[in-house]
Subunit: 326 residues, 2 copies
């Protein structure tokens, strides 16, 4: 009886509103841009390079260019044909490296098949590497030095910190070990003194690892892969996934009563609705806090790209040194 | 009754003989050196730089120079006074970077207080960075690219592999997050598909994390810190610690019957005996395999430095490319 009454009193899962935090960050960036302009006469400038005609990449790039305009960052967009050779791309990068007024260079991934992305990313001046993928920035991050940090992991930490979630001493579990999310977010959590476990496709008994985590980061790329049974009751769950659900029946099994009709509606209108790597209905029964999809981690990525561009600008030009994040 | 008879039949803890594996590695390196010499007329060359008169550093450096001679690597030893300025040190590094015949450059740590070691380590040509501490090598390691890997972590992996211990799918726990051992060994274990947890001074309930590990790496720097209760029965335990015990009574509490008299003898003769971060008597009651101290991880570090020097030589000079380790 007592236990059942406790169950009934379970607090509703808190929604970690990434969209709101992203707006906050963008507002701060815009203020810094205004200040840099007024005090130093400097305008941060971002160059975005896209090769080929991948639809998703096009949407991402458009979003980055539009957000730049919103916060007052100058941007240049280079859309190169799929037939571009690696030498042509490297030449463009060299010219952007050499242009003093360019603060940030971003080459949108994935590159066309067969192009050596490690070689391309290493060609970017580390001081302008706003995606934080250059090995020297990866190494500096791992060594706890000042570095440009990949945007999604940096956004996740920013969200946790601004939402008042204690990282120090927490057990954190990162599922997925990509170079874009899993590994760098694990490095950042470790730097903030969490005890960090990294799981992946070779992990045996995944739920025994995940269900001990006070902070669970899912960055796998498989829809609703993390079920209720993977989650420690009350845990903070960050869902980095972004997958499409096109089937109404599937949607009905994934979303809870309050949400399902809206989602079905979205499928009927757009042909799909977005779902993360975490089963939303099950997670909302167990987790203490959860990032929604969409509106959780997604908007933070672009916001942090803006902040990285401004940080790169200040650091390169020696304005208010040392204000970059670790 | 059954359980007690099973206990009695417990297999004795296997000793992971690092000294033997180190001899094996050095023999292989010596063979490669002979081959490089015969086929290409090339002699790998290592430059070791030491600043000040730290006693332990002097012993380490002497050991590195002597081992170089053993395997046929040419070595140069620069012993600079404690009064050396950072600019003088950077000048020396630049001249070593520029000397075509120098394949490896090692600056012995720790540097004298007040000297910016990050700046010194970044000055070393990454292609000659046989300690693997340059951020670009740290980043390449994290990204799973070809890199020069820190010697102790590389030696630990080499030991596990040569002893036939399966890393893939194992739960590994690394206690300690130094840039020299803890973090890079975690990166290497992850690359070999272990599920990796990193613990440190902020970890709450350490034994709940360690006692789930199939492979437990202790790299903390506190004598006998890891007790029997931290260890999963049958686990592989790698003890990276190297601490001095000077008190006979303390030694009697730490070593088991077969070993204690020899250890007390050593204390009487030399003034101390070496102990790791793992309680040896307790661990030998629980672990499936254990690296001894001394004779476990220690000898592997210098052996791997030799291998890194030969790898750097081959890679820099374009001889048998791609043979470097990850």
């Amino acid at each position: 009886m007592a236990s059942s009454s406790i169950e009934k009193e379970r607090r509703p899962t808190r929604v970690l509103d990434g969209s709101r935090v992203a707006v906050e960050i963008k507002r701060e960036v815009a203020e810094t841009v205004t200040l840099l302009n007024r005090v130093y006469g400097v305008s941060p400038r971002l160059a975005v390079v896209r090769i080929g005609d991948d639809q998703a990449s096009e949407v991402y790039v458009r979003n980055k260019v539009r957000t730049s305009a919103e916060v007052g960052i100058m941007s240049e967009h280079f859309a190169l044909p799929a037939t571009t050779t690696i030498d042509e791309l490297l030449n463009l990068i060299t010219s952007l490296n050499n242009r003093e007024e360019v603060d940030g260079i971003l080459v949108q991934l994935p590159l066309p098949g067969g192009m050596d992305s490690a070689r391309v990313l290493e060609a970017i001046d580390p001081a302008k590497d706003v995606d934080g993928f250059h090995p020297i920035n990866v190494g500096r991050l791992a060594q706890g030095q000042l570095a440009l940090v990949p945007c999604t992991p940096a956004g996740i930490i920013e969200l946790l910190v601004r939402e008042g979630i204690e990282i120090e001493g927490a057990r954190a579990c990162v599922v997925g070990r990509s170079h874009i999310v899993g590994r760098p977010v694990a490095a950042l959590l470790l730097q903030r003194n969490a005890t960090v476990t990294i799981c992946h496709s070779f992990t045996r008994d995944l739920s025994s690892a995940t269900s001990q985590a006070d902070i669970l980061i899912a960055a796998i790329g498989r829809p609703a892969f993390i079920r209720g049974s993977h989650i420690k009751p009350g845990a903070i769950v960050v869902d980095v996934g972004m997958n499409k659900v096109t089937d109404e029946g599937a949607a009905r099994a994934l979303f809870n009563r309050e949400e399902v009709e809206r989602r079905v509606e979205t499928i009927r209108k757009r042909g799909y609705t977005l779902i993360g790597d975490v089963h939303p209905a099950e997670a909302s029964e167990v987790a203490g806090a959860l990032t929604p999809v969409p509106g959780g981690v997604g908007p933070l990525t672009v916001a942090m790209l803006m902040r990285n561009t401004v940080d790169a600008c200040r650091c390169r030009r020696g304005l208010e040194e040392g204000k970059g994040r670790k």
